[in-house]
Amino acid sequence: MNKLLKLSAASLLVFTGFSVNADTLSDVKSQGSLSCGVSTGTPGFSNPDSSGNWSGMDVDVCRAIAAATLGDARKVKYVPLSAKERFIALQSGEIDVLSRNTTWTATRDNSLGLNFAGVNYYDGQGFMVKKSLDVNSVKDLDGASFCIQAGTTTELNLADYFRSNNMKFKAVTYDTSPQTKGGFEAGRCDALTSDVSQLAGLRSTLKDPSSAVVLGDVISKEPLGPVVRQGDDNWFNIVKWSLNAMIEAEELGVTSATIDRTSTSPGVQRLQGKTGKLNEHLGLNKDWARNIVSQVGNYGESFERNIGMSTPIALPRGVNQLWIKGGILYSPAFR
C-alpha cells in the first residue's frame, strides 16, 4: 500500500509539475506577462465579456500588478479556475497570483503554503430565497435545504451557523456556481447561500429575478483578497503594495484622470514616483504606482466601474469605504 501511495504521489508530481520559485518578479518580466488566477465567471469580480475581455474588481488587482511590474495593465494572462482548483494552481506555480474572491482564513494562510496579500473586498455570507416562501430572516429557515457551491467556506459557515442556532438543514453541494444557480431555479432547494456580493450578481442572472429575494442577514465575515505563494517575500510585497497604492490613491483624491497633474502634496508626489525610494526596495520602476492609478484607477474608481450603484450589480460601498469616510478600508502609511 505504501508503495502504491508513493507511486501515485510521484505520478501526481510529474503531471502537476511542482516547482518552488523564489523569484516571481523576474519570471514575470522574462515572460512579459502576469499569469493571474481568476474565477470562471463572477459578475463584477472577474467575468469575461463576449469578446473574451476580462473585467471586475479582482481583475483590476491583476491589472494593477501588471501595471506595476510590466508598466502595462493589459499584459495579463487570465487563468480561469474553479473553487476546487485555485489553490493547487497557485501552489504548483501555474499562476503568479490568485485574485479570485478568495476568503482569507487562518487555515488557508497557515497550512497551504500561501500568503494573503490584503483585502480588496470585505464580504459576508448571505442568503437568497424564493419570494413565494415568504421568509424574512435566516432564523425562519429551520429544516430548509440549501444549494451551495463545493469547495468554499460557505459550506463550513452554514454548518456552523445552523449548529449554533440548533436548527436543521439539508445541503445540496454543486461543483460550479452556474450549477448551484440552476439547482435553486429548478426548486431543488429552498435557498441559495453564497457571499453577498455574488448573490446580487446571481439574482440578476435568474430567468425571473423578481421571483427571489436576498435576505438582509449576513452570517459570516468573508474578507476577499489576492493570494501568493510563500517563500517569495518580494513578490508578496509587490502584490500587497499594488493593492495599497489603489487605496492610497483614493484617499489622496487622485484618479486616473488627475494622476499626472503637478501636485505639491508630498503624498501625491510619492505616488507619482517623483520623490521617495519605494520602488527600489520592491525592484520596480519609479513610476510603478503612477502606472497603476493611470491605467487601472484608484480603488473607488474600480469599485464604481465594476460593482457600484451604476452597474447592474449595484452594491453600496458599505464597509468597503475608506476609513476616513466611515468604512474600514485602510492602507498602511505609503512612505
Partner: protein
C-alpha cells in the same frame, strides 16, 4: 574465470534477466527521486503534509448518507467513509440495473419480433452514443422539472412520498422488535433456499418438478410481514414539516439521476456483450434443445445463456469497472460520493492535494481490483470444465 564471465555475457537468458533488473532499478530510482523531490518542495513551500488532517473536524454537511453516523462535527476520516459507502451504493445499484436492462435488451436485440428487435437497436444506438456526463445532467434536469415540488409531493398511502427532491420512505426504529422482524426475514430466506435445493435435487433425481413460488411467497414475503404485525415493530414515517419532509429515510434525486443514467448508459454495452455472446452459441445448440422438447424460454435459459455468458463475461467485467469509475461524475449533479466529498470539499478545506488525491485513487483502485477478482472467480467457474 574470465571465460566463464564472458560466456555469461553472451548468454541470452542471463542478458534478458540483467536488462530487466536494470530497468526495475532505473524505474525505482526515478520514482524515489521524484518522491523525494516532491516532499522537499512541499516542505520548502510550507504546505502541511501527512495524514493528520483525517482526524480534524470536517465541519461541512453531507446530503446523502445511508448507514453511517455523520454530522458536521465528525472527522474528515468519517467523511471519507461516507464518500466510499455512497460510491459503493451507487455503483452496486447501477451494476444491478445495468445488468438487468442489458440482459433484457441484449436478448431483445435477437428477437424474432421486428418491433422489439428494432426498439432494442434504437435504444442501444441512442444511449451508447451520447456522452455519459450529458446524460447524467439530462436526467437530473428532467427529474427536477417533471417531478412535483415538496408541497405537492406524490403521496403513496401517506407513508411514501416522491417529489423533485427525492423519494421519502418510512424507516424502522431500531430496537428489539426490529431485530425480531429481521431475524424472521433471514430465517425465511434460509428456509426457502433449503426447500429450493431439495426440489432441485428431487428434479435431478426423479424428473418431477415442484413449483416453489408459493414457498417463496410464504417464507420470504408473508413471514416477515406477519412478524412485523405480531411483534409490533415501529416505523417512523416521513412527514412534511416546514420546508421539507422530516423523519423516515430518503433517497435524493441526485442519487436517482446518477444511478439511472449510469444504468441506462452501461446497459447498452452489456446488451451488446450479451448479444455477441448469444450469437457465438452454435445454432445447433438451440435446435438440439428444441428437439429435446424444451420451450423457447427454457432453451434460452438452460442451454443458450449459460454458454453465451461464458463469452460475454469478460467484456461485462470491463463495463462494471467503467460504471464504478463513471460514478465519480456525480460531482456535476451534487450526489455526495467520494470525489464530491473527499477530493472536493475536504481537499478544499485542508488543501493537501497529494494526500487527498492519492487516497481517492487508492479507493478506486481497490474497488476496481476487487470487482475484477470477484468476476474472474465467477468466470473461472463458468469456463468449460476440463478445457
Amino acid at each position: 574465470m574470465f571465460i566463464k564471465l564472458k560466456s555469461l555475457l553472451y548468454n541470452n537468458e542471463v542478458r534478458a534477466i540483467a536488462f530487466q533488473v536494470l530497468a526495475v532499478v532505473f524505474i525505482a530510482y526515478f520514482v524515489y527521486q521524484a518522491f523525494d523531490n516532491m516532499m522537499l518542495n512541499i516542505e520548502q513551500s510550507g504546505i502541511r503534509s501527512g495524514f493528520g488532517f483525517l482526524n480534524d473536524e470536517a465541519g461541512f454537511a453531507v446530503n446523502d448518507n445511508f448507514f453511517l453516523t455523520y454530522s458536521p462535527t465528525s472527522t474528515n476520516l468519517q467523511a471519507f467513509y461516507v464518500g466510499i459507502v455512497n460510491t459503493l451504493i451507487v455503483a452496486i445499484t447501477g451494476i444491478f440495473f445495468a445488468s438487468v436492462i442489458g440482459l433484457v435488451i441484449g436478448i431483445a436485440r435477437l428477437s424474432s419480433n421486428y418491433l422489439i428487435r428494432k426498439m432494442a437497436t434504437v435504444y442501444i444506438e441512442i444511449f451508447r452514443n451520447i456522452p455519459i456526463l450529458l446524460q447524467i445532467l439530462f436526467w437530473y434536469s428532467t427529474a427536477l422539472s417533471v417531478l412535483p415540488s415538496t408541497r405537492n409531493s406524490m403521496n403513496f398511502l401517506d407513508s411514501v412520498f416522491l417529489n423533485s427532491r427525492g423519494l421519502f420512505l418510512p424507516k424502522f426504529i431500531i430496537g428489539t422488535e426490529f431485530y425480531l422482524v429481521l431475524a424472521s426475514f433471514i430465517i425465511g430466506i434460509v428456509a426457502y433456499v433449503f426447500i429450493k435445493k431439495r426440489s432441485t435435487k428431487k428434479h435431478d433425481d426423479t424428473g418431477i418438478a415442484t413449483n416453489t413460488i408459493p414457498h417463496f411467497l410464504g417464507l420470504v414475503v408473508l413471514l416477515p410481514i406477519m412478524a412485523y404485525f405480531v411483534f409490533g415493530a415501529q416505523l417512523e414515517y416521513p412527514a412534511l414539516k416546514g420546508f421539507n419532509f422530516q423523519g423516515g429515510t430518503d433517497l435524493s434525486i441526485e442519487f436517482f439521476s446518477l444511478a439511472f443514467a449510469l444504468s441506462v448508459y452501461t446497459a447498452t454495452y452489456i446488451a451488446e456483450a450479451i448479444r455477441s455472446g448469444i450469437d457465438s452459441v452454435d445454432k445447433g445448440q438451440k435446435e438440439a434443445a428444441a428437439a429435446l422438447g424444451l420451450r423457447q424460454g427454457q432453451a434460452m435459459r438452460l442451454v443458450v445463456l449459460p454458454q453465451a455468458l461464458r463469452v460475454a463475461i469478460p467484456p461485462i467485467i470491463n463495463q462494471y469497472l467503467n460504471l464504478t469509475k463513471n460514478s465519480s461524475l456525480a460531482t456535476a449533479v451534487g450526489y455526495s460520493e467520494l470525489v464530491t466529498i473527499f477530493s472536493g470539499t475536504v481537499l478544499n478545506v485542508v488543501g493537501q492535494a497529494i494526500e487527498v488525491i492519492a487516497l481517492t485513487m487508492l479507493v478506486y483502485l481497490t474497488i476496481s481490483l476487487f470487482i475484477s477478482l470477484v468476476l474472474n472467480i465467477f468466470n473461472k467457474k463458468m469456463e468449460i470444465k476440463g478445457k
